[in-house]
């Protein structure tokens, strides 16, 4: 089953799916391991594994610092791949890589995607790789049946959304607002109109991320989006209360 089919299948039982995010190696792979186990146990549907990069331009302060501390702690791409392989083998939910293009470019785009496929990670989110720059990447993803997740933004025109949707698979990641990750989002009429535009542009499921931090935010998305993406909020939670706090937090979200 493709990732998109699998998501649609799960949506038959659940009104909205949860996708969570963590930065690999931050604060450590041990903590990552525990956090993921708790997330899966509490019903998280998809997990984004961010491979740290030294210049994460699309990320706000929380994820930025997590990236930098992971790198300062000596975390290597090879270790991230090994850890992802372990998680994909152990847990049945889909895992995705999130990272910046230079990580793939340095590794070799084809080699990286072959490896992604081999270890059972289902797709990738690369925020600094627009389709115009990613012809090789998109072709290799298609060949390997990996989902090259495309991103919509409130600033994307209808025409642009159609182009992006044509290159995408798995689902579309709809950035909820202007700005970087980790700040508050207001779900007003403009947001609803934006999501309606997203919906018209694609048959793929819609994930909404940026500023989704609690149950109230997830409630707001119910009926509009298919997947709620929780990013900085869990990183902040683990920093403040440790990995054990993740179980209760996830349980309250939906």
């Amino acid at each position: 089953m493709t990732l998109a089919q699998e998501i649609k299948h799960t949506l038959a039982d659940r009104e909205i799916l949860l996708m969570t995010h963590l930065v690999l190696g931050y604060p450590s792979f041990e903590v990552n391991r525990e956090v993921i186990a708790r997330m899966v146990e509490r019903g998280v549907d998809i997990i984004e594994l961010q491979i740290p990069f030294s210049e994460p331009v699309a990320d706000g302060p929380v994820i930025l610092r997590a990236n930098q501390e992971a790198i300062a702690g000596g975390i290597k791409v090879r270790q991230c791949l090994e850890f992802a392989a372990e998680m994909a083998a152990k847990h049945r939910i889909p895992f995705l890589f999130m990272t910046y293009y230079n990580i793939l470019f340095k590794y070799g785009v084809t080699e990286f995607l072959d490896k992604t496929r081999e270890i059972g990670v289902r797709g990738l989110i690369i925020p600094d790789l627009p389709p115009e720059e990613g012809a090789d990447y998109l072709a290799a993803c298609r060949r390997l049946e990996l989902a090259p997740i495309q991103i919509f933004a409130p600033t994307s025109s209808d025409e642009r959304m159609a182009t992006l949707a044509g290159h995408g698979d798995g689902f579309i990641y709809c950035v909820a607002r202007r700005g970087v990750t980790g700040a508050k989002t207001s779900f007003d009429k403009r947001f609803t109109d934006y999501i309606a535009r997203c919906r018209r542009a694609t048959d793929l499921p819609l994930a909404v991320g940026f500023g989704i931090a609690d149950r109230q935010d997830v409630e707001m998305l119910r009926g509009q989006a298919d997947i709620a993406v929780i990013g900085s909020a869990t990183i902040r939670l683990v920093e403040e209360h440790g990995p054990a706090a993740v179980s209760d937090f996830i349980a309250t979200l939906r």
């Binding site: 740290p52 990069f53 030294s54 210049e55 994460p56 331009v57 699309a58 706000g60 302060p61 930025l64 610092r65 930098q68 790198i71 290597k76 791409v77 910046y100 293009y101 230079n102 990580i103 470019f105 340095k106 590794y107 925020p127 600094d128 790789l129 627009p130 115009e132 720059e133 495309q150 991103i151 919509f152 933004a153 409130p154 600033t155 994307s156 025109s157 642009r160 992006l164 950035v175 202007r178 700005g179 970087v180």
Partner: protein
Amino acid sequence: MKTGYYGNWGGAFVPEILHETFRQLNAFFTEAQADPAFWRQYVDLMGSYSCRPTPLTFAENLTRRYGGARIYIKREDLNHTGAHKANNVMGQGLLVRRMGKTRVIAETGAGQHGVATATMAAKFGFECTIYMGEEDVQRQRPNVFWMEKLGATVVPVTSGSRTLKDAINEAFRDWVANMDSTHYVMGTVCGPHPFPTMVAWFQKIIGDEVRGQIMAAHGRLPARVYACVGGGSNAMGIFQGFIDDPGVELVGVEAGGKGLDTGQHATRLATLPAGAPTATPGVAQGYKTMFLQDDDGQMLDTHSVAAGLDYIGVSPMLADLCERGLVRCTAATDTEVMEALQLTMASEGIIPALESAHAFVQAFKEAGELPPDQAIIINQSGRGDKDIFTIAHAFNDPSWKEFIRSKGEEYTP
């Protein structure tokens, strides 16, 4: 060739949130480029506000000293705000006005581009925020003082290595939130398309001028043209005057820092000694070029006595010209730079910026090899006297230290 590429380098690796902003920027820029009135307006502004055309000075004493080619210095230091940065910034200011935006943001390393942008914002009535690495804020206090007095908000950047590259990242983070009102005034010929093309277009005013000036002064084209290379904007500016002249050798001089075998430098294009880790192709900060990075693609720390050259990447245009053998790239160490600076001051009464002094180093090494009927041009991209704190510190000057100590006491309650 693909849009926005220079050979194998360049591109526009921008997050989707900025796609529309870049589409508009490209449209406005293309329209301005095609409008002769826009260029005239730019040249007039630079004439009335920034001392253009800047002179080409014959360095008689240095020429005599080396006994070879006639040494000419293109005086970009005489621009308003003291560096070639003004060219790009005033040009982008006109573009911002054309786009109807009301706020500008910029990154700065040494502070030159920040001061220039704050100056432009004051003149045009724009709001202005400058991102500057915390380490640079401390190194370049006088420039921070001027930016604030000019009305800009200076934001110290505390992430990463707290230098120029981190300031660029923060400026992007501001831009993705505020693109409706705000233009990002990129300071150099780097970043996503159309920035390299745009900045090079404004900076070509240097090359346009100097070509006529050397013909008037020397009667023929120069044998070589030297320019320091950080991001590469002053180099691209002057090189464009001679890019189609096979007889003119273009020489870019990068920061050799503490030495090319030490790993503490910002040399991306010049050949390093065997075994030293070299820059490799990569994609970061929105474009593809040669970056100083590790095997995983994580960017490394760089070092130079000149903050304006202390950067991990380099213009994709220069990466291409270098790859095609049209520009020769070399490097000068911190020590060599201080010697060349001292010599230029004492011989000609001219104080180059630390960045510009890199170009002088290489010119001095080679001037004697050339016959006296030939000429070379050094692009003096900026002036050094306003960096008195940095230069005095680099000279380790005892009486200056004493002065600072006594000033410190004066301000101690």
